[in-house]
Every structure is written in C-alpha cells, then in structure tokens.
Subunit: 105 residues, 2 copies
Amino acid sequence: MDSRDLLGAVSFSDEKMQKVSLFGSEHYFCDLYCLKPGQEQRIHRHRESDKIYCVIEGKGLFHVAGEERSLGAGEIVVARPGEDHGVRNEQDGDLVLLVFMSPRP
Amino acid sequence: MDSRDLLGAVSFSDEKMQKVSLFGSEHYFCDLYCLKPGQEQRIHRHRESDKIYCVIEGKGLFHVAGEERSLGAGEIVVARPGEDHGVRNEQDGDLVLLVFMSPRP
C-alpha cells in the first residue's frame, strides 16, 4: 500500500521552497511544499489547471486573484484557472502545504 | 478567495458516511469524508481514476488492493486505477478524510 506520513516526508532547504512529489499521474500531481521562514512560491498562474493548497503545518500568507489571506493548519484554498496565486511563509516556524493540481500542466 | 476551514466544514450523519464537496472541476473532485464510529466506505474500484485519502482527524482502517493498514492524522494513501479500496472507522472517535480524485469518474 502506497501510504506516507506527511510530516515524515518533508524536506527543507535554506535556499528555497522545496517540492516533494507524493503521488501523480498524467491527470494530476499531489506534492508537499516545504517553506522555511521567509520563503515563498512566487505569484504565477496556470491557464487550465486548478491548484489546491491545504495547510498541514504552520501558517502561510496566500495570494489568490488579487486577494491576500493568512491560512493555518486545517485550512484549504483553491486557485482556479487563470487566477494569480502564490504563498509566503511570514511566520517564524516552518510551513508545510499539501498541494493538488489538476489537470497536470 | 475560496478558502475553507476543514474541521468547520465537517458534517456527520448517524445513518452513513457523509461526503462534503469542497472543490472540483470536470477534471477532479476534492471532498471531505466524515465517518462516525462504525461507518465505512465500502470497498469498490474505479477503472481510470486515482483516489487519494488524507487523514485530517481520527484513525481509519484502509483497504487498498487487498492490503489493510490503519492510518492516522497526517497520513496519506493512494488507490490507483483498478485497485479495490475502502475505509472503515473502527475507533471510538470521528474520522475526517480529505479526498482527491482525478480524473473525475
């Protein structure tokens, strides 16, 4: 059975946000994003895909379609096709996100 | 911004497991499954879709492709196309799962 412990799978770098691939197919990916304090995923967009961020640990400042919101563990947000989106760890602790994207870009 | 608090979105029924739709498109769905003690999603399969279960709260007994494993909060598992899969809440507490499926069946 292909199961994982999310917090056991985290990987951080002093250099930049790390993406850890968990599962995927030609239709989607499911990754962990691991952000140390001050790290970010810069604002970008995808033409055809939804991206879902679920906060597993920590708190992130999310930007979606021009709006900013701070979301913590147990909160989830979607960026729809064409919507600018990004996230920044402005806290003192680590930030771990479960990320789904479909269709795969 | 379309964000949700997962534990604020839960909905239980004494009758059977509840599915709460969070996000979706023609390519995927992202739901919460809410199981009271003794409730289950019976073993079934999908011909073309991956299904991912992530445990948000509680502990579930998962069945995937003939194997059984107990998974708790922060653990995640995938059932690939054609693999039998299901989950049962055999604990005394509630079970909340974040479920992602792509492509949408």
